[in-house]
Amino acid sequence: MPDLIVTVNHKVGLHARPAALFVQTAAKFKCSIKVTVGERTANAKSILSVLTLGAGQGAVLAIHAEGEDADQALAALGALVRSNFGEEG
């Protein structure tokens, strides 16, 4: 049951384009993926569920994946968030 903790640095938080990219990335994997911010937990493959997390800039995401490709899913989501959703530099 791998877990990953990562901080959202993007100025709009986990909303708009970052949220869409996050959900699209999660949807590529077979495993079930949950993302928790504070006391709220969401299905990482559901845009509506992710939006209701209200994760703004600086939010700390705890991502939990279960299933055959869980490790790859966490690696991909971690890389996406750390790269500031592809807007580095």
């Binding site: 640095n9 100025k11 699209q24 559901s46 939006l51 209701t52 209200g54 800039q57 530099g89």
Partner: protein
């Protein structure tokens, strides 16, 4: 006359009849279905059609419009939403319309309850997507914009992206909504359409009957309902003035730039490719204040050779004739790596081997560039400048390299310009503080405010957590700029500024007041920057600069500009 106030969401002024736009409401009745599997298939068919419609409406959109489309498409694929609909249809034998309304409403309420303007706008998205599906399911065809026959100002509770895009563009003069904030869709779409918009006005706007004459002021954020004729006249003349000053800015963009009392400021362009050279010239650039040369290095698989660089520089110099082109030598390092150069990983790349530091360590990287630049300078007005300088020794070493290349080329029989001006970028606090000594070594300075702000404020400009420390005209940076200008002028050397600050219309009066001889900016800003400078007087901006140096924050500097330079404020609010 009645005045309604709201949030100015898209600039401009519109005058015309009001048109009350009402969302087509779909009446949903809960019904028990016998074959729940068939009901789910009906829902899936509606989903399929909705996706097709989305692709048609948004298909050609780019940027913000594409983002809206992507969000809606993701909602139609949302596994949680679809599962909620599926289980309600299956377990409670409810019809698809009722199952969808119920599931979607839960999300609308969750998003609205978070008390965040952005998320409230997403609740509108959920409604938009849901309505689209419901209309398909019930076979609705009514068109809520059917009554719109003459150019009008659209009044509504809120407008979904679909509503906005379905309206006949030529019949829309502007938008005014009861709900929404500056980031709601109607704001984004209105700006994209070039129409003024006012949002968050409150329910009073819904009481204005269709056909009532209104004036919508998207600059000040007011809606005048049934205005007095003299008020309308005043607004219309302001509207005409705004249009005139923009077109005037473009008309005079190729003339040299002087303040009202005759102080000359050179307006140059920042470019990073041959294509941009042409565009900058057309925009009115009097030369190039910053030619970034990394493009040659990025587009190659390996280091670009001397001939390739010579041709590129030659063509850019050719575009500008006898006007100056300031070439910045290769500015790479740990923060801007090149894939084919195996540079060592550094713990602090911004404080590591960047710019001139790397080039002095690896002269093989810069020699072909210096040779190419020296050759391309013949017959034109090319100048060289070195990035990331922190000490006098670096400047001397770099000049030594240039002289060595010059001697080689002469020995090889190349014809060279008799003189080539050499300058440095001031982007480290060290260079700023040593400007009096550096001025003795160089022909000119160019202040790079992006890096200078980052190093002065000790705040990584790529780190969002501390980005506000480097944003705007920071007084600490302005003080450094002032001392660099003084040091340069003491030795009769020219000093320019080529960072993002020079592209900020509100900061330009301060920069002119600080005595910068040249401002180099992105081509698109040039006509407006020239226009702004022509409204200033030297006395006025020198006084402004003195006050800015005593300010305690970037916000205070911008407030000073707004107070002391009404022409700029007026212009910015119209532009």
């Amino acid at each position: 006359m009645k005045i309604l106030r709201g949030v100015a969401a898209s600039p401009g002024i519109a005058h015309g009849p009001a048109f009350q736009f009402r969302q087509p409401s779909v009446h949903v009745k809960p019904v028990t279905v016998e074959d729940s599997a068939a009901e789910w298939r009906r829902f899936e068919a509606a989903l399929h059609l909705a996706k097709q419609q989305l692709a048609e409406i948004y298909g050609s959109g780019r940027g913000e419009l594409a983002d809206i489309f992507r969000a809606h498409a993701l909602m139609l694929e949302d596994p949680e939403l679809l599962e909620a609909v599926r289980s309600t249809i299956q377990e409670r034998s409810l019809n698809a319309e009722a199952a969808l309304s119920k599931a979607a409403e839960a999300y609308v309420q969750a998003l609205e309850s978070l008390g965040d303007e952005y998320l409230r706008a997403r609740a509108v998205d959920v409604r938009d997507v849901t309505n689209r599906l419901l209309r398909i399911l019930v076979g609705a065809t009514e068109n809520s914009a059917a009554g719109l026959k003459a150019p009008s100002i659209i009044l509504a509770g809120d407008l979904t992206p679909s509503d906005t895009l379905h309206l006949e563009r030529s019949l829309v003069l502007g938008f005014c909504t009861a709900e929404g904030g500056a980031t709601s869709h109607v704001a984004i779409l209105a700006r994209g359409m070039g129409r003024p918009a006012l949002v968050g006005v409150g329910s009073d706007v819904l009481a204005v009957p269709s056909g009532t004459p209104v004036v919508l002021d998207g600059n000040e954020g007011v809606l005048l309902v049934d205005p007095d004729p003299d008020v309308v006249t005043a607004y219309l003349s302001r509207q005409a003035e705004a249009a005139a000053s923009l077109s005037e800015a473009r008309q005079h963009s190729h003339e040299l730039t002087y303040t009202r009392d005759g102080h000359r400021v050179e307006i140059l362009a920042n470019i990073g490719s041959e294509e941009e050279a042409q565009a900058a010239l057309q925009a009115g650039a009097e030369g190039v204040g910053l030619l970034r040369t990394e493009f040659l290095y990025m587009r190659s698989q390996g280091l670009p050779g001397e001939e390739e660089q010579y041709r590129a520089y030659r063509s850019i110099v050719g575009v500008f004739g006898q006007r100056p082109v300031i070439l910045r030598t290769l500015d790479i390092g740990g923060d801007k790596p090149l894939a084919y150069l195996d540079l060592p990983q550094e713990a602090n790349p911004f404080l590591g081997q960047r710019g001139i530091r790397l080039c002095l360590k690896r002269p093989d990287l810069i020699r072909p560039q210096l040779r190419a630049a020296l050759r391309a300078a013949h017959g034109g007005n090319l100048k060289l400048m070195f990035p990331m300088v922190a000490s006098v020794a670096e400047v001397r070493a770099a000049r030594g390299l240039v002289e060595a290349c010059r001697a080689e080329l002469q020995a090889e029989g190349h014809s060279l310009a008799s003189r080539l001006e050499i300058g440095v970028m001031v982007e480290t606090p060290a260079a700023g503080l040593m400007a009096d000594k550096l001025a003795a070594e160089v022909d000119f300075f160019s202040i790079g405010t992006n890096d200078l702000s980052q190093y002065t404020m000790a705040a990584d400009r790529t780190n969002a957590e501390v980005a506000s420390l480097t944003a705007g005209p920071q007084p600490a940076v302005l003080r450094l700029i002032a001392s660099v200008v003084a040091a340069a002028h003491q030795r009769a050397k020219r000093v320019g500024l080529c960072g993002e600050l020079a592209s900020d219309l509100a900061t330009i009066p301060v920069l002119v007041g600080l005595g910068l001889d040249e401002l180099s900016m992105s081509g698109a800003v040039i006509p407006l920057a020239k226009h702004v400078i022509r409204t200033l007087t030297l006395d006025q901006v020198q006084d402004l600069a003195r006050r800015a140096l005593e300010a305690t924050s970037a916000d205070e500097v911008l407030r000073l500009v707004a107070e002391r330079v009404p022409a700029v404020r007026e212009f910015l609010s119209r532009a």
